[in-house]
Structures are given as structure tokens and as C-alpha cells.
């Protein structure tokens, strides 16, 4: 007759599992990290000339140390910045006050006009980070609106609702994110 092995008492198993559970609850976080994604440009080479742009193609946004805006040498307001950028980057044919447009043929969408405008942002060392993020956000929001406009026209959906990568790529090509940050300079007080 085989001798039965005595049963192991599993009563404390729950306690052990509880201990591990509490350890994980304490040491881990569940927060999702969100943020505005940006691609920095490589540092300029020593003897590199800054690229030249026509005045009508460039929208210069300056933010000073007291968080005030200057858009193309006129005083701007953060509340209207989104509409200003949207208006500037929209397609206007034969209008010298807006950037040039160039025809482009893109897969799926076909022939469209693409703006050659560029948004240039420059901030002072004394600008607050909060203002900087607001400006970045408003510019990004304007580009999102432009993309939505194109996506709605061709596919009947907003950009982030598009299902196929090719459609997204086509819209991104029609509305390129033409945005650059000027090389920092020391102006104003710290």
C-alpha cells in the first residue's frame, strides 16, 4: 500500500499572494504620460548659411520676456493665434499678402495646392514655459485644423478618424508641418 504524502497546508497561500499584490500596488504607477511631441532639428554646421525665405512666405512669431506676442512685427494675441496661423497657412491663390502656393500631385488625393508658408517661432530666455507650451499648442492645433479640413474634403472624416495609413500620409503631404524654431539668442533680461 502506497503511503499517502501529507497534504500541504495552503491556508497561508492567500496571505503570500496578498503580500505580493500590495508590493506591486506600492511600487508601480498607472499614470499615462502625455505630451506635445516635437522633432528638434540637428545643430547647424559652422559655416552653414541660414536658408533664405521670401518675406511673404514666413510668419515670424516672437514671444518676449513678459509673455507678449509679436507676429510679423505686429502685436499679436494668444487668443487669436490659432486663427492667424490657420488663415496664414490656408491656400490663397494670387494674393501677395499670403504665402505662395505650389501645385502638387499626391497619391489617392490627386492634384492639390500646397502652401509654401513657414511658421517661425522665437522665444526669449525670460519667456515662461507655460506661455511657450500655449504657443506650441496653438500652432499644433492650427495645423490639426488644416489637416482636418483636407481630410474632410477628400475622405469625409477628420484626420485622426482616418482608418488607413496611406490616407493619413496623403493628408500629411498636402499639409506639411512647416514649423521651425529660430536659433536662440540672448535678448532681453533673464
Amino acid at each position: 500500500m502506497a503511503r499517502n504524502t501529507p497534504q500541504v497546508n495552503a491556508g497561508s497561500m492567500a496571505d503570500i499572494a496578498f503580500l505580493m499584490l500590495i508590493f506591486f500596488l506600492v511600487t508601480t504607477t498607472m499614470e499615462v504620460d502625455t505630451g506635445i511631441m516635437r522633432q528638434l532639428s540637428p545643430p547647424p554646421l559652422k559655416d552653414q548659411e541660414p536658408p533664405k525665405f521670401k518675406d511673404r512666405n514666413i510668419m515670424k512669431i516672437l514671444v518676449n520676456s513678459s509673455d507678449r506676442l509679436l507676429i510679423n512685427n505686429k502685436i499679436g494675441d494668444i487668443k487669436t493665434l490659432r486663427d492667424d496661423v490657420f488663415d496664414f497657412m490656408s491656400i490663397h491663390h494670387n494674393d501677395a499678402t499670403y504665402p505662395e502656393v505650389s501645385p502638387k500631385s499626391i497619391d489617392i488625393i490627386g492634384d492639390v495646392y500646397v502652401s509654401r508658408g513657414l511658421i517661425s517661432l522665437k522665444n526669449d530666455r525670460g519667456t515662461s514655459y507655460e506661455m511657450y507650451i500655449k504657443v506650441q499648442n496653438e500652432i499644433a492645433a492650427a495645423f490639426t485644423e488644416l489637416k482636418n479640413q483636407v481630410a474632410m474634403k477628400h475622405f469625409g472624416k477628420n484626420y485622426d478618424k482616418l482608418l488607413f495609413e496611406e490616407q493619413k500620409d496623403a493628408v500629411s503631404e498636402a499639409v506639411p508641418m512647416r514649423f521651425s524654431e529660430a536659433e536662440p539668442e540672448d535678448i532681453g533680461g533673464k
Binding site: 495552503a10 491556508g11 497561500m13 492567500a14 503570500i16 499572494a17 496578498f18 505580493m20 499584490l21 506591486f24 500596488l25 511600487t27 508601480t28 504607477t29 498607472m30 499615462v32 504620460d33 502625455t34 505630451g35 506635445i36 511631441m37 516635437r38 522633432q39 528638434l40 532639428s41 540637428p42 545643430p43 494668444i78 487668443k79 522665444n123 526669449d124 530666455r125 525670460g126 519667456t127 515662461s128 514655459y129 507655460e130 511657450y132 507650451i133 500655449k134 506650441q136 499648442n137 496653438e138 499644433a140 492645433a141 490639426t144 536662440p184 533673464k190
Partner: protein, 155 residues
């Protein structure tokens, strides 16, 4: 005369707890899968900015964090300072920090590395600009300005 004779006592049998460990293990695995390990303790006060155009940072293991803000303990001053891992650092140490973060990952993950800047909203841009210049020098071009998502901006 009853045909069915009641066996044993009329007391309720004790509830079996043998499945309790299984339930707890299930909870444990749920938490292990859905959460990530806590990053280093933060010594600086970071009041997050808010924005509408935010994207989620996907692979958390491929993100290096740089915290900037006024120190929590007054003895370290009130000006914004940079925190890398779990100590205060200077601007010059950022390049070394990024290089180390890069070396800790394997070859094909290095390109996807991004840097999350967690900056207090009252910080001046001077220090942030310096950090950005250092990141450009070392080739860490993917940057995320950490912000909480809001539906509408308070301008």
C-alpha cells in the same frame, strides 16, 4: 417515520477558501501587467502645463525623463533646477546622461528613444532652451513636452 434521514449536524458547512489564493493571484497579475515600475523619486516641484494637442507616450521603457523645476526642499534654493535620475544635475551633464541612456538599450531600440521634458510651468525658457541645445548636440531629436490633456485651453 422519515424516509430520508438527515446526516450529520444542521450547522452550515464552512465556506471553502481554497480558491482565495487564485483570486488574489489573478488580481496580482492584472496589476503586474497594467502598471509600470515607478521612476526615480522627484525632488523638484513640477506643476504640469496643460495642452489640447497631446499624444500618449507609448513605450515607456524607451523614454528618458528630465525634470526641471524649483526644488521641493528650500535648502537647495528656489530657482528651477534640473533633475536627472535621482540627483540634481547641471546643463553639462545632459549629454552624458543621454549617452548612458542610449547605451543601456539594444541597437534597434536606440532610434526610438525619446526624451520627456517634465518642466514646471513657471520655469523660464532660458533653462529649457539650454537643455534643448544640449539634446540637439547629442542627437536626441525626439522630444515630448509633458502636459496633461484638456479639452479646451484656458488662454
Amino acid at each position: 417515520m422519515s424516509r430520508f434521514k438527515q446526516k450529520g449536524s444542521k450547522e452550515l458547512p464552512p465556506i471553502s477558501t481554497s480558491s482565495l489564493p487564485d483570486i488574489i493571484f489573478m488580481l496580482l497579475f492584472f496589476f503586474m501587467v497594467t502598471t509600470t515600475m515607478k521612476q526615480a523619486d522627484v525632488f523638484v516641484k513640477v506643476r504640469p502645463t496643460s495642452a489640447t494637442e497631446v499624444v500618449k507616450l507609448e513605450k515607456k521603457s524607451l523614454v528618458s525623463y528630465i525634470h526641471v523645476g524649483p526644488p521641493l526642499q528650500a535648502k537647495y534654493g528656489t530657482n528651477s533646477r534640473i533633475q536627472l535620475n535621482d540627483r540634481f544635475a547641471t546643463i553639462e551633464e545632459i549629454q552624458e546622461f543621454i549617452t548612458k541612456e542610449r547605451e543601456a538599450r539594444n541597437e534597434n531600440e536606440r532610434k526610438q528613444l525619446s526624451t520627456s521634458l517634465k518642466v514646471d510651468k513657471e520655469t523660464k525658457m532660458g533653462i529649457v532652451t539650454d537643455i534643448k541645445q544640449e539634446l540637439r548636440q547629442v542627437g536626441a531629436y525626439r522630444v515630448s513636452y509633458s502636459s496633461t490633456e484638456v479639452k479646451k485651453m484656458d488662454l
